[in-house]
Every structure is written in structure tokens, then in C-alpha cells.
Amino acid sequence: MASDNFQPHDYYLMDELLTDEHKLIRETARAWVKKEVTPIVEEACQTTTFPKQWIKGLAEIGAFGPYIPSEYGGAGLDQISYGIIMQELERGDSGLRSTASVQSSLVMFPIYSYGSEQQKKKYLPKLATGDLMGCFGLTEPDHGSNPNGMITNIKDKGDH
């Protein structure tokens, strides 16, 4: 892409509904996207490469688990902050946003919500820094919109 001249659009003065913290978070994410993402995203897409340095940057702007409490390495922010970060990332590229939203909502969120204290302490801080990257699968060759039909199974063998 030649140059990133993006200007935000706020026809109904929605900024008045945001806190100063929300706006600060947005400016941080937007500045990072302009500096590190849009200058190279076209090349990355054309060559189908994921620029690995984005992982560190995402961690630094708090995009991994923004709403996870800080005691587990998250940013301890509210849901609107999470949304704003996703908006700014997808303004850069949807693949970048999904990297952050899968890590946050499909990996960190379940560990935080359903995990034991030990599991949370073991995984969440490393996921927040991007030292660990998670993934999520909810589609099988024969089951997409119908997850109830999934045939992947587990067998209890006593010790595992």
C-alpha cells in the first residue's frame, strides 16, 4: 500500500460516549497500526506471510486479553476497550485482528473463565506476552454450523 492517510469517521460524535482511557487506548493502537502494520501488510498478503514481529507489538499495545485481570498478565480493561482495540487492528487487516481476538477470546477467555487457578497462572501471563500463541478449532470435515455433531472424542485411560 502506497501510504496510510487514514482519518477516522465519527459522524454522530460518538467520541463523547468514550472515556479518556478509551481514547488513549485507541490512539495507541492506531499509531502502532500506522507505524508497523499498514506499511507492510500489502506485501505480507501478496506473499502470504505473517509478520512475526507483530506478535510482540500486539502484546505491547495490550491486544492479548485486554479484559483479563492484570494479576494474570492481562490489561484489566473493560469490554469497550477490547472492542476499540479490535476495531483499530482490523482497520489494518482482518487477519491481524483475528490473531488478537482468537488469542483473547478463544484461548485466554476460556482458561480464565473455566480453568483452575493453577492453569490460569501457568498459561495466561505467557499468552498475554505472546510467548505462547493459542489456537481454536470448532469445525470438522463433516460438521461446521452443527458443532453438536462433532465426532472427535476422548477416551479416559486413567492417567490421561
Partner: protein, 194 residues
């Protein structure tokens, strides 16, 4: 973890700057300590999707704004028949509808964010926002592509990249049609899935 592999999906025309792959579990031994103690069945994954779909509803506003912003600027710079194409009614119709749809999505999503922060957002409300916003962004990408003319298909502008990405987003995390049925079930009480 022995038996776990992630073969990458190659040849995508969408989400080309990020890795997509299969998750293959072939006789993987999962230690018992890895099992979540506090959830059973599909409630777990579906709870995750609520959170992820909420993020998508916000995210695609970013893609839509980028397409609109680029189209608006291009419409003021591109001269045809002696004036900027933004001075023609048909271009204005496209741009006016784009900013209208973006503004509606911003309001809807902000309100959803307030409800979500208060733990009051229902899965059906999140479905409505995901479905509405992704479709809004995809339609805006297509209209923005037209405003850019032939330049819109090149990598000089972000339009085609956003458009191709959004073709994935309208399908993943609950397809456009499935989210419609969730709203349908929510308002009628009848399940039309099966």
C-alpha cells in the same frame, strides 16, 4: 505434544497475512491436569464464541471505515468529465449510504459494549451485531471498490484486501445465515435449525 500437528491451509484468497491450519489430534495423550474443571460440554466453546463474536462486531467497523475513508478521498481526487467523481450523484449515493451504515453500526456496537461490560449482553444480541456489522463492512468494501474504479483492484489501495478478508469473516464464528436464525429463534421462540 506427541500426535498433535497443525498442517497449514495454503492457497487462501482471504486472510493471506495470517496463518490458518487444521488441528490434528492423532492419539494425543492429554494430561488430566489440562482438563478445565469448571465447565462441561458445548457451553465452554459457545461462551468463547460470544466473546469472539463481540470482538468481530467491533473489528469490522475498522475495515469498513478504512474502505469508506479511502473511497471518500479518492472521490475528491479523481476527475472525470471535468469534475471530481464525488460531485456525481451516484458516487454521493454510495458514500452517503456508507457513512450512514457505519454510523448505525457504531451506535449499535457501542451500546452492545455497555451491555457486555455490565454482563447483560445476550448471545442473541451479539449475533445481531456480528451479522449486521460484517455484512455492512462487506457491502461497503464492494461499493468502495467501485468508487476506486480499476485502481480498486490493485494493492495501492486496501479495498480488495479488506473485501477478501471479510468473505471469511462473514462465514466464520457463525455464518451470516446462522446468525439470522438465532435472531429468528430469539424473537419467535421457534428453533428453525433442524
Amino acid at each position: 505434544m506427541a500426535g498433535f500437528t497443525t498442517p497449514e491451509t495454503h492457497g487462501k484468497w482471504s486472510l493471506r497475512a495470517s496463518a490458518t491450519g487444521e488441528l490434528v489430534f492423532d492419539n494425543v495423550k492429554i494430561p488430566k491436569e489440562n482438563i478445565f474443571p469448571n465447565v462441561k460440554g458445548l457451553k465452554g466453546p459457545l461462551g468463547c464464541l460470544n466473546s469472539a463474536r463481540y470482538g468481530i462486531a467491533w473489528g469490522v467497523i475498522g475495515a469498513a471505515m478504512d474502505c469508506y475513508d479511502s473511497a471518500l478521498r479518492y472521490s475528491k481526487e479523481r476527475i472525470q468529465f471535468g469534475k471530481p467523481i464525488g460531485a456525481f450523484q451516484l458516487t454521493q449515493k454510495k458514500l452517503a449510504e456508507m457513512i450512514t451504515e457505519i454510523t448505525k453500526a457504531q451506535l449499535l456496537t457501542w451500546r452492545l459494549g455497555v451491555l457486555k461490560s455490565e454482563s447483560r449482553a445476550t448471545p442473541a444480541q451479539i449475533s445481531m451485531a456480528k451479522r449486521n456489522n460484517v455484512n455492512m463492512a462487506l457491502q461497503i468494501a464492494r461499493e468502495a471498490r467501485q468508487i476506486h474504479g480499476g485502481m480498486g483492484i490493485t494493492g495501492e489501495y486496501p479495498i480488495m484486501r479488506h473485501m477478501m478478508n471479510l468473505e471469511s469473516v462473514i462465514t466464520y464464528e457463525g455464518t451470516h445465515d446462522i446468525h439470522l436464525l438465532i435472531t429468528g429463534m430469539d424473537v419467535t421462540g421457534f428453533n428453525a435449525f433442524s
